[in-house]
Symmetry: C2
Subunit: 226 residues, 2 copies
DNA sequence: GGGTCGCTTCGGCGGCCGCCGAAGCGACCG
DNA sequence: CGGTCGCTTCGGCGGCCGCCGAAGCGACCC
């Protein structure tokens, strides 16, 4: 019986249109049904049906606002599940030509649901390790120094149920970057403080103000330019 | 393009027969194609086709031995992915009547791929936390005392790429138990040392010899009997 | 070497599901 | 209070895919 549940959940993501929707929703924003239809290249009516199914499966939430209907990922755990699955999917040969163009545009800095990824994301992981802010001795952990430095930068260290730090294989870099509650808080702080700014879909622009705080995290942005 | 990859991977698990196969394979053993066919309730020919597809997708490995053909999960990361998906699947209402009977049989102690789960698995997490062997201060980590105690028990602390400790929502207990490289090493030691013995599919029998080592891990087995 | 056994491959059937356009339905705009 | 706009629902079409039994193919047994 329980086994059927697994198949049902997988079936929801097994359709290319629904998969596309989930992936674009990983940018953390709320999309209208019409936008999702366009992104997936299908009729509005079909998109609406897909959204219904994603809602029923608990993957996304639909919030009506006036005559529009906004769709967003239901909760961070779902985002992590989709990322996990996408990681496995990208774990093999690949890749087309067109995608490499898109990847170029997104490669330097981008968001992965609610945290930084791309070249900058990977450098952040390396830098924080090198500075001793995080440790991999027994799983990924934040060190005492890490607590201090983040405090000085105005990044609150979350203490909820969600894992503080997780490795997340980067789609473009093929190396791990940091995911979890802490990187999410870091991105939020970075946007608030004007260190970075969201550009397009998932692209992120790194602003000059980022230089100092990122240096404190072990990242030399000047040496990193593409 | 990349989006299609996600859908393809999900599609592999979206079939009830293949999902069943993957779930039974979570016991870590190698199954023959015939056994899998019986478990899924389908013809041998169909099962063979499913196995081929699971192999192509990188979920399982097929190793020929004489005229038999053994199938097992391809690697621990795959097992974690399937568990992750199954967790999401079981995250809702549920449950039939028949399944509760099966659950009863498996509830006390069972394996979850390569580590202990069930009531004992949950108690292990609680006990190790209470004894200060693991900590949740910044993600799940093994403490210094944890290293010591495990050393005394003859459990080697792995240092590979795989995460040492992870929370894993228990299907039967609806609470977390410990997964990851360390719980896997613990189970292996427990079997070798005769603390526990594998019974049926995923059921585990806890032997008298388990009392002392489990007490060291903060678990009072006598108080735990079902 | 003939017989059996376990698995794989092949052909063909049947059902499910994703697709669209048309129609229905609120919400907002004048 | 008609008109438009965004979304949802409905009916029907078409293709894909999981299913089986039959046939093919090695490996083992005697």
């Amino acid at each position: 019986m329980e086994t059927i549940a697994l198949a049902e959940v997988a079936a929801v993501l097994a359709d290319p249109s629904r998969a596309t929707m989930c992936l674009v929703l990983l940018d953390g924003r709320a999309w209208t049904v019409g936008e999702l239809a366009k992104a997936a290249g299908i009729a509005l009516s079909t998109a609406s049906e897909h959204v219904t199914r994603l809602v029923d499966a608990g993957f996304v939430a639909r919030v009506k606002q006036g005559r529009a209907s906004y769709v967003r990922i239901a909760d961070p755990r779902v985002a992590e599940l989709i990322e996990h699955l996408a990681q496995h999917a990208e774990h093999r040969p690949v890749t087309g030509l067109k995608s490499s163009v898109r990847v170029r545009r997104l490669g330097f800095a981008r968001t992965c649901y609610d945290h930084l990824a791309g070249l900058v994301g990977v450098a952040l992981r390396d830098g924080m390790l090198a500075e001793g802010l995080v440790s991999t001795d027994a799983g990924l952990t934040l060190t005492g120094r890490g607590h201090e430095v983040l405090g000085e930068l105005g990044v609150p260290v979350p203490d909820g149920r969600r894992a503080l730090l997780r490795d997340c294989l980067d789609w473009t870099e093929r190396r791990d970057h940091l995911a979890g509650a802490l990187p999410a808080a870091l991105l939020e702080r970075a946007v608030d403080a004007g260190w970075v700014a969201a550009e397009g879909n998932r692209a992120v622009k790194v602003l000059p103000a980022a230089e100092k705080p990122f240096a404190a995290l072990g990242v030399d942005l000047a040496a990193l330019q593409p």
